[in-house]
Protein backbone atom coordinates (compact mmCIF):
# COMPACT_ATOMS: atom_id res chain seq x y z
CA UNK A 1 0.00 0.00 0.00
CA UNK A 2 1.30 3.46 -0.81
CA UNK A 3 1.96 5.38 2.39
CA UNK A 4 1.78 8.78 0.73
CA UNK A 5 5.32 10.03 1.34
CA UNK A 6 8.73 8.66 0.47
CA UNK A 7 12.29 9.72 1.22
CA UNK A 8 11.27 12.92 2.98
CA UNK A 9 14.14 14.23 5.12
CA UNK A 10 13.88 17.64 6.72
CA UNK A 11 14.35 19.43 9.99
CA UNK A 12 12.63 22.42 11.52
CA UNK A 13 14.83 24.59 13.68
CA UNK A 14 13.84 26.11 17.01
CA UNK A 15 12.12 29.44 16.48
CA UNK A 16 11.63 28.80 12.79
CA UNK A 17 8.46 28.76 10.72
CA UNK A 18 8.74 26.08 8.07
CA UNK A 19 6.15 26.09 5.32
CA UNK A 20 5.04 22.75 4.00
CA UNK A 21 3.96 23.50 0.47
CA UNK A 22 2.25 21.39 -2.13
CA UNK A 23 -1.09 20.91 -3.86
CA UNK A 24 -3.78 18.63 -2.49
CA UNK A 25 -2.56 15.05 -2.37
CA UNK A 26 1.14 15.96 -2.34
CA UNK A 27 1.62 14.27 1.05
CA UNK A 28 1.63 17.25 3.43
CA UNK A 29 -1.07 15.90 5.71
CA UNK A 30 0.44 12.40 5.63
CA UNK A 31 3.78 13.80 6.77
CA UNK A 32 2.08 15.72 9.56
CA UNK A 33 0.19 12.60 10.67
CA UNK A 34 3.48 10.73 10.90
CA UNK A 35 4.89 13.53 13.05
CA UNK A 36 1.82 13.43 15.32
CA UNK A 37 2.01 9.65 15.68
CA UNK A 38 -1.22 8.86 13.81
CA UNK A 39 0.60 6.98 11.06
CA UNK A 40 3.56 4.67 11.48
CA UNK A 41 6.30 5.00 8.88
CA UNK A 42 7.27 1.78 7.13
CA UNK A 43 10.84 3.07 7.19
CA UNK A 44 12.64 5.95 8.82
CA UNK A 45 11.94 7.95 11.93
CA UNK A 46 10.50 11.26 13.01
CA UNK A 47 11.56 13.20 16.09
CA UNK A 48 10.03 16.23 17.75
CA UNK A 49 12.07 18.05 20.40
CA UNK A 50 14.47 15.11 20.27
CA UNK A 51 11.72 12.62 21.11
CA UNK A 52 10.94 9.71 18.82
CA UNK A 53 7.29 10.10 17.80
CA UNK A 54 6.83 6.34 17.59
CA UNK A 55 7.79 5.69 21.21
CA UNK A 56 7.28 9.04 22.94
CA UNK A 57 4.19 10.19 21.09
CA UNK A 58 2.27 11.24 24.21
CA UNK A 59 5.15 13.40 25.43
CA UNK A 60 5.48 14.91 21.96
CA UNK A 61 1.80 15.81 21.91
CA UNK A 62 2.04 17.24 25.44
CA UNK A 63 4.56 19.78 24.16
CA UNK A 64 2.92 20.36 20.80
CA UNK A 65 -0.09 22.29 19.59
CA UNK A 66 -1.76 20.47 16.72
CA UNK A 67 -4.32 21.82 14.30
CA UNK A 68 -5.73 19.17 11.96
CA UNK A 69 -6.83 20.14 8.47
CA UNK A 70 -10.57 20.95 8.47
CA UNK A 71 -10.84 20.20 12.19
CA UNK A 72 -13.77 18.19 13.53
CA UNK A 73 -14.89 18.87 17.10
CA UNK A 74 -17.46 17.24 19.36
CA UNK A 75 -20.94 18.48 18.52
CA UNK A 76 -22.98 19.53 21.52
CA UNK A 77 -19.94 21.02 23.27
CA UNK A 78 -18.75 24.61 23.39
CA UNK A 79 -15.22 25.80 22.75
CA UNK A 80 -14.80 26.34 26.50
CA UNK A 81 -15.87 22.74 27.21
CA UNK A 82 -13.30 21.47 24.73
CA UNK A 83 -10.60 23.75 26.09
CA UNK A 84 -11.26 22.44 29.61
CA UNK A 85 -11.00 18.87 28.29
CA UNK A 86 -7.76 19.69 26.49
CA UNK A 87 -6.26 21.38 29.55
CA UNK A 88 -7.22 18.44 31.76
CA UNK A 89 -5.54 16.06 29.32
CA UNK A 90 -2.42 18.24 29.43
CA UNK A 91 -2.47 18.42 33.21
CA UNK A 92 -2.85 22.20 33.14
CA UNK A 93 -5.21 24.37 35.12
CA UNK A 94 -5.09 27.27 32.68
CA UNK A 95 -3.73 28.21 29.28
CA UNK A 96 -1.70 31.44 29.31
CA UNK A 97 -2.58 32.64 25.82
CA UNK A 98 -6.30 31.89 25.87
CA UNK A 99 -7.58 35.41 26.31
CA UNK A 100 -5.27 36.90 23.69
CA UNK A 101 -5.92 34.30 21.04
CA UNK A 102 -9.66 34.19 21.58
CA UNK A 103 -9.75 37.97 21.25
CA UNK A 104 -7.42 38.11 18.24
CA UNK A 105 -9.38 35.50 16.31
CA UNK A 106 -12.82 36.38 17.61
CA UNK A 107 -13.35 32.69 18.38
CA UNK A 108 -16.96 31.89 19.40
CA UNK A 109 -16.01 29.86 22.48
CA UNK A 110 -19.51 30.03 24.02
CA UNK A 111 -21.25 28.58 21.00
CA UNK A 112 -22.20 24.93 20.58
CA UNK A 113 -19.79 23.49 18.02
CA UNK A 114 -22.80 21.95 16.23
CA UNK A 115 -24.02 25.47 15.42
CA UNK A 116 -20.64 26.74 14.23
CA UNK A 117 -19.68 27.41 10.62
CA UNK A 118 -16.48 25.98 9.15
CA UNK A 119 -14.60 29.21 9.93
CA UNK A 120 -15.90 29.35 13.50
CA UNK A 121 -14.82 25.75 14.11
CA UNK A 122 -11.42 26.61 12.68
CA UNK A 123 -11.08 29.51 15.14
CA UNK A 124 -12.02 27.29 18.10
CA UNK A 125 -9.59 24.61 16.94
CA UNK A 126 -6.84 27.23 16.65
CA UNK A 127 -7.50 28.34 20.23
CA UNK A 128 -7.27 24.69 21.34
CA UNK A 129 -3.95 24.28 19.51
CA UNK A 130 -2.33 27.54 20.58
CA UNK A 131 -3.70 28.61 23.95
CA UNK A 132 -1.35 26.53 26.12
CA UNK A 133 1.69 28.15 24.46
CA UNK A 134 3.28 24.94 23.13
CA UNK A 135 6.94 24.70 22.22
CA UNK A 136 6.05 23.30 18.81
CA UNK A 137 3.10 24.14 16.59
CA UNK A 138 1.98 21.76 13.86
CA UNK A 139 -0.65 23.52 11.82
CA UNK A 140 -2.37 21.90 8.86
CA UNK A 141 -3.94 24.60 6.69
CA UNK A 142 -4.34 27.11 9.56
CA UNK A 143 -6.17 29.73 7.50
CA UNK A 144 -8.65 27.26 5.99
CA UNK A 145 -12.20 28.59 6.21
CA UNK A 146 -11.16 31.86 7.84
CA UNK A 147 -12.24 35.29 6.64
CA UNK A 148 -9.47 37.73 5.61
CA UNK A 149 -9.36 39.29 9.08
CA UNK A 150 -9.05 35.89 10.69
CA UNK A 151 -6.36 34.91 8.20
CA UNK A 152 -4.35 37.99 9.00
CA UNK A 153 -4.81 37.47 12.75
CA UNK A 154 -3.58 33.89 12.71
CA UNK A 155 -0.58 34.73 10.53
CA UNK A 156 0.35 37.51 12.96
CA UNK A 157 0.02 35.10 15.88
CA UNK A 158 2.24 32.54 14.14
CA UNK A 159 4.82 35.20 13.40
CA UNK A 160 4.74 36.40 16.98
CA UNK A 161 5.04 32.86 18.45
CA UNK A 162 8.08 32.19 16.27
CA UNK A 163 9.64 35.47 17.39
CA UNK A 164 9.55 34.22 21.01
CA UNK A 165 11.26 30.96 20.09
CA UNK A 166 8.37 28.65 19.27
CA UNK A 167 8.85 26.28 16.37
CA UNK A 168 6.17 26.14 13.71
CA UNK A 169 5.48 23.63 10.97
CA UNK A 170 2.81 25.08 8.75
CA UNK A 171 1.20 23.17 5.94
CA UNK A 172 -0.51 25.13 3.24
CA UNK A 173 -1.26 25.38 -0.43
CA UNK A 174 -1.78 29.13 -0.17
CA UNK A 175 1.50 30.60 -1.32
CA UNK A 176 0.95 34.15 -0.16
CA UNK A 177 0.58 33.12 3.49
CA UNK A 178 3.64 30.90 3.31
CA UNK A 179 5.58 33.75 1.77
CA UNK A 180 4.39 36.07 4.52
CA UNK A 181 5.38 34.06 7.60
CA UNK A 182 7.76 31.26 6.67
CA UNK A 183 11.52 31.33 7.05
CA UNK A 184 11.97 28.24 4.93
CA UNK A 185 9.79 26.29 2.57
CA UNK A 186 9.61 22.57 1.86
CA UNK A 187 7.89 21.71 -1.39
CA UNK A 188 6.34 18.27 -1.74
CA UNK A 189 5.33 16.64 -4.99
CA UNK A 190 3.73 13.21 -5.17
CA UNK A 191 4.98 12.36 -1.71
CA UNK A 192 8.57 13.40 -2.33
CA UNK A 193 10.45 16.42 -1.07
CA UNK A 194 11.54 18.34 -4.17
CA UNK A 195 12.81 21.53 -2.58
CA UNK A 196 13.81 22.72 0.87
CA UNK A 197 15.16 26.22 1.13
CA UNK A 198 14.52 29.77 2.23
CA UNK A 199 11.93 31.68 0.28
CA UNK A 200 14.63 34.09 -0.91
CA UNK A 201 16.87 31.27 -2.08
CA UNK A 202 14.04 29.60 -3.94
CA UNK A 203 13.31 32.84 -5.67
CA UNK A 204 16.93 33.33 -6.63
CA UNK A 205 16.96 29.94 -8.31
CA UNK A 206 14.32 31.26 -10.65
CA UNK A 207 14.73 33.99 -13.23
CA UNK A 208 14.43 37.65 -12.43
CA UNK A 209 12.93 39.86 -15.07
CA UNK A 210 15.13 42.89 -15.78
CA UNK A 211 14.17 45.95 -17.80
CA UNK A 212 16.94 48.47 -18.66
CA UNK A 213 16.72 51.72 -20.53
CA UNK A 214 20.07 52.54 -22.18
CA UNK A 215 21.51 55.73 -23.57
CA UNK A 216 21.84 54.60 -27.14
CA UNK A 217 21.67 51.00 -28.39
CA UNK A 218 21.61 48.18 -25.84
CA UNK A 219 24.71 45.97 -25.68
CA UNK A 220 24.65 42.47 -27.13
CA UNK A 221 23.75 40.10 -24.28
CA UNK A 222 23.47 36.92 -26.33
CA UNK A 223 25.60 34.08 -25.05
CA UNK A 224 25.86 35.47 -21.56
CA UNK A 225 24.92 32.85 -18.93
CA UNK A 226 21.25 32.17 -18.53
CA UNK A 227 19.97 35.35 -20.15
CA UNK A 228 16.85 35.25 -22.26
CA UNK A 229 15.82 38.34 -24.20
CA UNK A 230 12.10 38.90 -23.81
CA UNK A 231 11.50 42.16 -25.57
CA UNK A 232 13.43 45.04 -27.12
CA UNK A 233 12.14 48.40 -28.27
CA UNK A 234 14.63 51.03 -29.39
CA UNK A 235 16.93 51.60 -26.36
CA UNK A 236 14.74 49.70 -23.90
CA UNK A 237 15.54 46.01 -23.29
CA UNK A 238 13.67 43.44 -21.18
CA UNK A 239 15.32 40.13 -20.45
CA UNK A 240 15.19 37.27 -17.94
CA UNK A 241 18.22 36.16 -16.02
CA UNK A 242 18.68 33.14 -13.78
CA UNK A 243 21.47 32.38 -11.30
CA UNK A 244 24.81 34.21 -11.00
CA UNK A 245 24.71 37.76 -12.40
CA UNK A 246 28.41 38.74 -12.45
CA UNK A 247 28.96 37.97 -16.15
CA UNK A 248 25.89 39.98 -17.02
CA UNK A 249 26.99 42.93 -14.90
CA UNK A 250 30.34 42.84 -16.64
CA UNK A 251 28.65 43.13 -20.01
CA UNK A 252 26.48 45.98 -18.80
CA UNK A 253 29.31 47.88 -17.15
CA UNK A 254 30.40 49.52 -20.36
CA UNK A 255 26.90 50.64 -21.27
CA UNK A 256 25.34 53.90 -20.14
CA UNK A 257 22.08 53.19 -18.34
CA UNK A 258 19.27 55.61 -17.47
CA UNK A 259 16.82 53.29 -15.73
CA UNK A 260 16.79 49.75 -14.31
CA UNK A 261 13.83 47.71 -13.04
CA UNK A 262 14.34 44.23 -11.54
CA UNK A 263 11.22 42.20 -10.80
CA UNK A 264 11.63 39.27 -8.41
CA UNK A 265 9.43 36.26 -9.07
CA UNK A 266 6.68 35.55 -6.59
CA UNK A 267 6.73 32.31 -4.63
CA UNK A 268 3.77 31.29 -6.74
CA UNK A 269 5.92 31.49 -9.87
CA UNK A 270 8.65 29.48 -8.16
CA UNK A 271 6.12 26.89 -7.05
CA UNK A 272 4.55 26.61 -10.48
CA UNK A 273 7.99 26.28 -12.01
CA UNK A 274 8.65 23.25 -9.83
CA UNK A 275 5.38 21.68 -10.71
CA UNK A 276 5.15 22.52 -14.42
CA UNK A 277 8.76 21.94 -15.20
CA UNK A 278 8.89 18.77 -13.14
CA UNK A 279 12.23 19.93 -11.80
CA UNK A 280 13.76 17.50 -9.36
CA UNK A 281 16.09 18.38 -6.52
Amino acid sequence: MSRGIEDVTLDVRRGEVLGFLGPNGAGKTTAIRVIMGFLRPTAGTAEVLGLDVGHRSVEVRRRTGYLPGDPALYAGRTGWDLLRLALKARGLSEAPLTERIVAALGAPMDRDVKKCSRGMRQKIALVLALAHDPEVLVLDEPTGGLDPLGQRAILEIIDERASVGRTVLLSSHILSEVEQVCDRVAILREGRLIALSTVASLRSQKYREVTITFVGDPPDLRGIGEVEIVWQHENRLTFRVRGEASQLLGALAAAEVTDVTIAEPSLEEVFLDYYRGGRDP
Binding site: T29, V58, P68, A72, Y74, K88, A129
Partner: protein, 263 residues
Protein backbone atom coordinates in the same frame (compact mmCIF):
# COMPACT_ATOMS: atom_id res chain seq x y z
CA UNK B 1 -7.45 9.25 31.92
CA UNK B 2 -9.99 10.23 34.60
CA UNK B 3 -10.88 13.35 32.62
CA UNK B 4 -11.36 11.26 29.50
CA UNK B 5 -13.57 8.77 31.34
CA UNK B 6 -15.69 11.51 32.91
CA UNK B 7 -16.04 13.31 29.60
CA UNK B 8 -17.20 10.17 27.84
CA UNK B 9 -19.52 9.26 30.70
CA UNK B 10 -21.07 12.70 30.46
CA UNK B 11 -21.49 12.43 26.71
CA UNK B 12 -23.07 8.99 26.92
CA UNK B 13 -25.48 9.65 29.78
CA UNK B 14 -28.42 10.88 27.71
CA UNK B 15 -28.35 7.77 25.50
CA UNK B 16 -27.97 5.59 28.60
CA UNK B 17 -31.03 7.22 30.16
CA UNK B 18 -33.10 6.34 27.09
CA UNK B 19 -31.90 2.73 27.20
CA UNK B 20 -32.73 2.58 30.91
CA UNK B 21 -36.16 4.06 30.30
CA UNK B 22 -36.97 1.35 27.76
CA UNK B 23 -35.57 -1.57 29.74
CA UNK B 24 -36.98 -0.48 33.09
CA UNK B 25 -40.40 0.16 31.56
CA UNK B 26 -40.39 -3.42 30.35
CA UNK B 27 -39.25 -4.63 33.78
CA UNK B 28 -42.06 -2.64 35.46
CA UNK B 29 -44.58 -4.17 33.10
CA UNK B 30 -43.31 -7.70 33.75
CA UNK B 31 -43.54 -7.33 37.52
CA UNK B 32 -46.88 -5.53 37.40
CA UNK B 33 -48.72 -8.09 35.27
CA UNK B 34 -47.51 -11.19 37.11
CA UNK B 35 -50.49 -11.40 39.43
CA UNK B 36 -52.95 -11.21 36.58
CA UNK B 37 -51.39 -13.71 34.15
CA UNK B 38 -48.21 -15.19 35.63
CA UNK B 39 -49.98 -17.75 37.77
CA UNK B 40 -52.42 -18.96 35.11
CA UNK B 41 -52.27 -22.70 34.56
CA UNK B 42 -52.97 -22.11 30.88
CA UNK B 43 -49.72 -20.21 30.58
CA UNK B 44 -47.78 -23.13 32.05
CA UNK B 45 -49.50 -25.49 29.67
CA UNK B 46 -48.80 -23.20 26.74
CA UNK B 47 -45.11 -22.93 27.64
CA UNK B 48 -44.79 -26.69 27.96
CA UNK B 49 -46.29 -27.09 24.50
CA UNK B 50 -43.61 -24.87 22.95
CA UNK B 51 -41.12 -26.69 20.71
CA UNK B 52 -38.00 -27.74 22.55
CA UNK B 53 -35.86 -25.26 20.61
CA UNK B 54 -38.01 -22.38 21.86
CA UNK B 55 -38.02 -23.67 25.45
CA UNK B 56 -34.27 -24.10 25.17
CA UNK B 57 -34.03 -20.43 24.28
CA UNK B 58 -35.85 -19.42 27.46
CA UNK B 59 -34.53 -22.17 29.73
CA UNK B 60 -36.29 -24.67 31.94
CA UNK B 61 -38.27 -22.69 34.55
CA UNK B 62 -41.65 -22.83 36.21
CA UNK B 63 -43.37 -19.83 34.65
CA UNK B 64 -46.06 -19.99 37.29
CA UNK B 65 -43.71 -18.61 39.95
CA UNK B 66 -42.64 -14.96 40.18
CA UNK B 67 -38.98 -15.89 39.68
CA UNK B 68 -39.76 -18.10 36.70
CA UNK B 69 -41.97 -15.42 35.23
CA UNK B 70 -39.28 -12.74 35.66
CA UNK B 71 -36.77 -15.03 34.03
CA UNK B 72 -39.03 -15.84 31.09
CA UNK B 73 -40.24 -12.32 30.40
CA UNK B 74 -37.18 -10.29 31.31
CA UNK B 75 -33.93 -11.92 32.29
CA UNK B 76 -33.87 -14.44 29.41
CA UNK B 77 -33.45 -11.67 26.87
CA UNK B 78 -31.64 -8.99 28.89
CA UNK B 79 -28.19 -10.19 27.63
CA UNK B 80 -29.49 -9.71 24.09
CA UNK B 81 -30.19 -6.06 24.89
CA UNK B 82 -26.88 -5.66 26.72
CA UNK B 83 -25.04 -7.10 23.70
CA UNK B 84 -26.77 -4.67 21.36
CA UNK B 85 -26.11 -1.77 23.70
CA UNK B 86 -22.44 -2.73 23.89
CA UNK B 87 -22.14 -2.93 20.10
CA UNK B 88 -23.83 0.42 19.56
CA UNK B 89 -21.71 2.02 22.29
CA UNK B 90 -18.46 0.65 20.85
CA UNK B 91 -19.41 1.82 17.35
CA UNK B 92 -20.46 5.25 18.60
CA UNK B 93 -17.42 5.93 20.73
CA UNK B 94 -14.62 4.38 18.67
CA UNK B 95 -15.54 3.97 14.99
CA UNK B 96 -17.57 7.16 14.94
CA UNK B 97 -14.58 9.13 16.27
CA UNK B 98 -12.56 8.00 13.25
CA UNK B 99 -15.42 8.43 10.79
CA UNK B 100 -16.16 11.99 11.94
CA UNK B 101 -12.45 12.74 12.45
CA UNK B 102 -12.92 13.89 16.06
CA UNK B 103 -10.21 11.32 16.82
CA UNK B 104 -7.75 13.90 15.46
CA UNK B 105 -8.74 16.30 18.21
CA UNK B 106 -8.70 13.79 21.04
CA UNK B 107 -5.51 11.97 19.99
CA UNK B 108 -3.86 15.29 19.14
CA UNK B 109 -3.86 15.79 22.92
CA UNK B 110 -1.39 13.95 25.15
CA UNK B 111 -3.69 10.94 25.37
CA UNK B 112 -2.34 7.51 24.50
CA UNK B 113 -4.30 5.10 22.37
CA UNK B 114 -4.41 2.75 25.35
CA UNK B 115 -6.07 5.49 27.39
CA UNK B 116 -8.46 6.20 24.52
CA UNK B 117 -9.64 2.58 24.18
CA UNK B 118 -9.34 2.02 27.93
CA UNK B 119 -11.72 4.91 28.63
CA UNK B 120 -14.25 3.40 26.19
CA UNK B 121 -13.98 0.04 27.89
CA UNK B 122 -14.38 1.52 31.38
CA UNK B 123 -17.39 3.69 30.52
CA UNK B 124 -19.03 0.95 28.45
CA UNK B 125 -18.65 -1.59 31.24
CA UNK B 126 -19.84 0.95 33.80
CA UNK B 127 -22.94 1.68 31.71
CA UNK B 128 -23.71 -2.02 31.30
CA UNK B 129 -23.24 -2.40 35.04
CA UNK B 130 -25.56 0.55 35.63
CA UNK B 131 -28.28 -1.07 33.52
CA UNK B 132 -27.94 -4.34 35.47
CA UNK B 133 -27.93 -2.54 38.82
CA UNK B 134 -31.00 -0.51 37.86
CA UNK B 135 -32.87 -3.67 36.84
CA UNK B 136 -31.91 -5.28 40.15
CA UNK B 137 -33.22 -2.35 42.16
CA UNK B 138 -36.40 -2.18 40.13
CA UNK B 139 -37.06 -5.91 40.56
CA UNK B 140 -36.51 -5.80 44.33
CA UNK B 141 -38.69 -2.74 44.83
CA UNK B 142 -41.27 -3.75 42.22
CA UNK B 143 -41.75 -7.27 43.60
CA UNK B 144 -42.05 -5.87 47.14
CA UNK B 145 -44.67 -3.37 45.98
CA UNK B 146 -46.75 -6.13 44.40
CA UNK B 147 -46.85 -7.93 47.74
CA UNK B 148 -44.42 -10.71 46.96
CA UNK B 149 -41.08 -11.57 48.51
CA UNK B 150 -38.22 -10.64 46.21
CA UNK B 151 -35.48 -13.22 45.61
CA UNK B 152 -32.79 -10.58 45.78
CA UNK B 153 -29.93 -13.09 45.81
CA UNK B 154 -31.23 -14.77 42.65
CA UNK B 155 -31.76 -11.43 40.86
CA UNK B 156 -28.27 -10.37 41.86
CA UNK B 157 -26.67 -13.59 40.63
CA UNK B 158 -28.63 -13.62 37.38
CA UNK B 159 -27.83 -9.99 36.69
CA UNK B 160 -24.18 -10.51 37.58
CA UNK B 161 -24.15 -13.34 35.05
CA UNK B 162 -25.90 -11.04 32.55
CA UNK B 163 -23.32 -8.35 33.22
CA UNK B 164 -20.44 -10.75 32.58
CA UNK B 165 -22.05 -11.88 29.33
CA UNK B 166 -22.75 -8.27 28.30
CA UNK B 167 -19.14 -7.38 29.15
CA UNK B 168 -17.78 -10.24 27.04
CA UNK B 169 -19.93 -9.23 24.05
CA UNK B 170 -19.08 -5.56 24.51
CA UNK B 171 -15.34 -6.14 24.64
CA UNK B 172 -15.65 -8.25 21.47
CA UNK B 173 -17.37 -5.35 19.73
CA UNK B 174 -14.71 -2.94 21.02
CA UNK B 175 -12.20 -5.23 19.33
CA UNK B 176 -14.13 -5.01 16.04
CA UNK B 177 -14.45 -1.23 16.38
CA UNK B 178 -10.73 -0.93 17.04
CA UNK B 179 -10.00 -1.76 13.41
CA UNK B 180 -13.19 -0.59 11.70
CA UNK B 181 -13.74 3.09 10.97
CA UNK B 182 -17.41 2.91 9.92
CA UNK B 183 -19.91 3.33 12.72
CA UNK B 184 -22.79 1.80 10.76
CA UNK B 185 -20.75 -1.27 9.87
CA UNK B 186 -19.77 -1.96 13.48
CA UNK B 187 -23.35 -1.37 14.65
CA UNK B 188 -24.67 -3.76 12.01
CA UNK B 189 -22.08 -6.42 12.83
CA UNK B 190 -22.75 -6.12 16.57
CA UNK B 191 -26.53 -6.39 16.31
CA UNK B 192 -26.32 -9.18 13.73
CA UNK B 193 -23.76 -11.21 15.67
CA UNK B 194 -25.67 -10.79 18.94
CA UNK B 195 -28.91 -12.04 17.40
CA UNK B 196 -27.26 -14.91 15.56
CA UNK B 197 -25.39 -16.06 18.67
CA UNK B 198 -28.56 -15.85 20.77
CA UNK B 199 -30.58 -17.93 18.33
CA UNK B 200 -27.72 -20.29 17.49
CA UNK B 201 -27.20 -21.06 21.19
CA UNK B 202 -30.79 -22.22 21.51
CA UNK B 203 -30.61 -24.16 18.26
CA UNK B 204 -27.38 -25.89 19.26
CA UNK B 205 -28.92 -26.80 22.60
CA UNK B 206 -32.03 -28.25 20.98
CA UNK B 207 -29.93 -30.10 18.40
CA UNK B 208 -27.78 -31.61 21.14
CA UNK B 209 -24.64 -30.29 19.52
CA UNK B 210 -21.29 -31.26 21.06
CA UNK B 211 -20.42 -29.35 24.24
CA UNK B 212 -17.25 -27.82 22.80
CA UNK B 213 -19.31 -26.24 19.99
CA UNK B 214 -21.92 -24.86 22.39
CA UNK B 215 -19.16 -23.45 24.58
CA UNK B 216 -18.04 -21.20 21.76
CA UNK B 217 -21.16 -19.08 22.13
CA UNK B 218 -21.10 -16.56 24.99
CA UNK B 219 -24.85 -17.05 25.51
CA UNK B 220 -24.18 -20.68 26.46
CA UNK B 221 -22.55 -19.28 29.61
CA UNK B 222 -25.69 -17.48 30.73
CA UNK B 223 -27.58 -19.45 33.36
CA UNK B 224 -30.46 -17.25 34.42
CA UNK B 225 -32.95 -20.14 34.21
CA UNK B 226 -30.85 -22.25 36.54
CA UNK B 227 -30.33 -19.35 38.95
CA UNK B 228 -33.97 -18.28 39.02
CA UNK B 229 -35.07 -21.88 39.58
CA UNK B 230 -32.79 -22.13 42.60
CA UNK B 231 -30.45 -24.61 40.94
CA UNK B 232 -27.43 -22.34 41.44
CA UNK B 233 -24.87 -21.09 38.97
CA UNK B 234 -21.87 -22.99 37.59
CA UNK B 235 -18.66 -21.09 38.22
CA UNK B 236 -16.62 -22.16 35.21
CA UNK B 237 -18.81 -20.36 32.62
CA UNK B 238 -18.50 -17.15 34.63
CA UNK B 239 -14.75 -17.51 34.61
CA UNK B 240 -14.89 -18.16 30.86
CA UNK B 241 -16.85 -14.93 30.32
CA UNK B 242 -14.40 -12.98 32.46
CA UNK B 243 -11.41 -14.43 30.63
CA UNK B 244 -13.12 -13.73 27.29
CA UNK B 245 -13.67 -10.10 28.32
CA UNK B 246 -10.05 -9.66 29.36
CA UNK B 247 -8.70 -11.30 26.22
CA UNK B 248 -10.94 -9.31 23.86
CA UNK B 249 -10.09 -6.06 25.68
CA UNK B 250 -6.37 -6.80 25.47
CA UNK B 251 -6.73 -7.64 21.77
CA UNK B 252 -8.60 -4.35 21.18
CA UNK B 253 -5.85 -2.37 22.91
CA UNK B 254 -3.19 -4.17 20.90
CA UNK B 255 -5.06 -3.71 17.63
CA UNK B 256 -5.70 0.00 18.17
CA UNK B 257 -2.11 0.64 19.21
CA UNK B 258 -0.79 -1.06 16.08
CA UNK B 259 -3.02 0.52 13.48
CA UNK B 260 -2.70 3.68 11.42
CA UNK B 261 -5.26 6.37 12.01
CA UNK B 262 -5.88 7.77 8.57
CA UNK B 263 -8.24 10.45 7.35
Amino acid sequence: MIGLVLDLATRSRVALCWWLLGILSMACYVVAVYDSIGSLQDLRNLFEQYPESIREMFGEVDVGTMDGWIHLELLSWIPLVLGMYGGIFAAGTISRESEQRTVDFILGLPISRTQFIGSRLIVGLANIGTICAAIFLLLVVGVLLTGHTPSADRYALALLNAFLLGAALFSGYVLIASFTDEQSRVTGIAIGVTLVLYIATAALGAAEAPDWLKWLSPFEHYHSASIMSGRGVPILPQVALLVGTIMASAAALYSYNRRDIAV
